[in-house]
Subunit: 244 residues, 2 copies
Amino acid sequence: MEKISKARIKWIRSLQQKKVREQEGVFVVEGEKMVLEGLASKLHTLVALLVHKDEVAIIPQEFRDVALSADTTEMEQLSGLKTPNKLLAVFKRPSLQSTYSSFELALDSVQDPGNMGTILRLADWFGINRIVCSKETVDCYNPKVVQASMGAIFRIQVVYTDLLGYLPDAKRPVYGALLNGENYRTVSYKPDGILLMGNEGNGISEQLIPLITQAVTIPRFGAAESLNVATATAILLAEVRKDD
Amino acid sequence: MEKISKARIKWIRSLQQKKVREQEGVFVVEGEKMVLEGLASKLHTLVALLVHKDEVAIIPQEFRDVALSADTTEMEQLSGLKTPNKLLAVFKRPSLQSTYSSFELALDSVQDPGNMGTILRLADWFGINRIVCSKETVDCYNPKVVQASMGAIFRIQVVYTDLLGYLPDAKRPVYGALLNGENYRTVSYKPDGILLMGNEGNGISEQLIPLITQAVTIPRFGAAESLNVATATAILLAEVRKDD
């Protein structure tokens, strides 16, 4: 197994910056459980695989040729964590494929990393395999969200694009969560539909509203001003999947 | 309006400690919006009301006799926040009333304050007026949860008790969220039912399981290991309310 070079260390360290990760179109995963799950899933192309020189045995045989070994000091330099792990991997982010037509989720400016993590786990539970996010949506390839996703990030393609262009081009039913729509339980959800959820405070942006083909609403029985976006997504996805 | 005394300042400051708040059976609310909401709701008995001496006009007429005024230095001493507010109130916590028979939520050792806040807002949305918590459940009268509840704390009685004694005494249907129960959509929920939700990692404790009269399960369609407890509560409460 080759040893990691100084240049490679420098490059991986630079990925601790959001801007660099985005420019390079990659994301970083740390820790044995998560890295092995990422390697197994094959949803994302592997860009780099680093292993502590004394732990080479934990890497599956098929990846030993591409892995690079590092000593304790080098692992510390590479890691974004206080206590560096035995394994670190860099994967390529997925790109938007236009042939996709299963039911999917679209997020318009969801801001809170905690909500993003919850929505990822939800999508994973309900077998939603793709989430299309507006460019203003929180970065789900942020290391904290990646680690909090409990592996969902390796089973769901999350892509960032301009929803204003994407939604009309998709030519698919768009179900938008609004306050004045039809009761979500009486709507029939098409298998190629897109469920559009809005920002925590402002809901779905005004310019996207005309692109909604069916507004859906969760009726309120009490006095709360609003439902949390992850909570509303949970209720709607459970309904979409009811007959499956 | 009377001025606050040194002894009263000392007592309110002591409520910044969880143990003292619990012993005294009270909770503290800060800020104009929240305090006025608490005064208006009348769900909790007012124990003390403090106002900055220059802001007396914001207190509703009926509460002016009981309010105490404080100067800027005193408000700073009273407040648990970095920037003290114009208003601070101390309310009594509700106690468990045995005559209650509307549909309610029971929480067994839910630990995360964020989950507790989300569940409070959810209960508020779905018109659930009482939550009965095991003594190990996170304190929802913690100042952070109170502020994050967006007023739900003033519309929902949250009581802490021993569920092992409470559930059998209630003689009501107990719907427990488990992994091997009946599909939650085929269950018929009685109006006096209790929905029991368990701890984030361990679910419902073993000794409570025999007290469940109907186990309910949200089917999984993907690969996620679990659903977040607040998310699962959302899906189940939406179902309970479907025919209302």
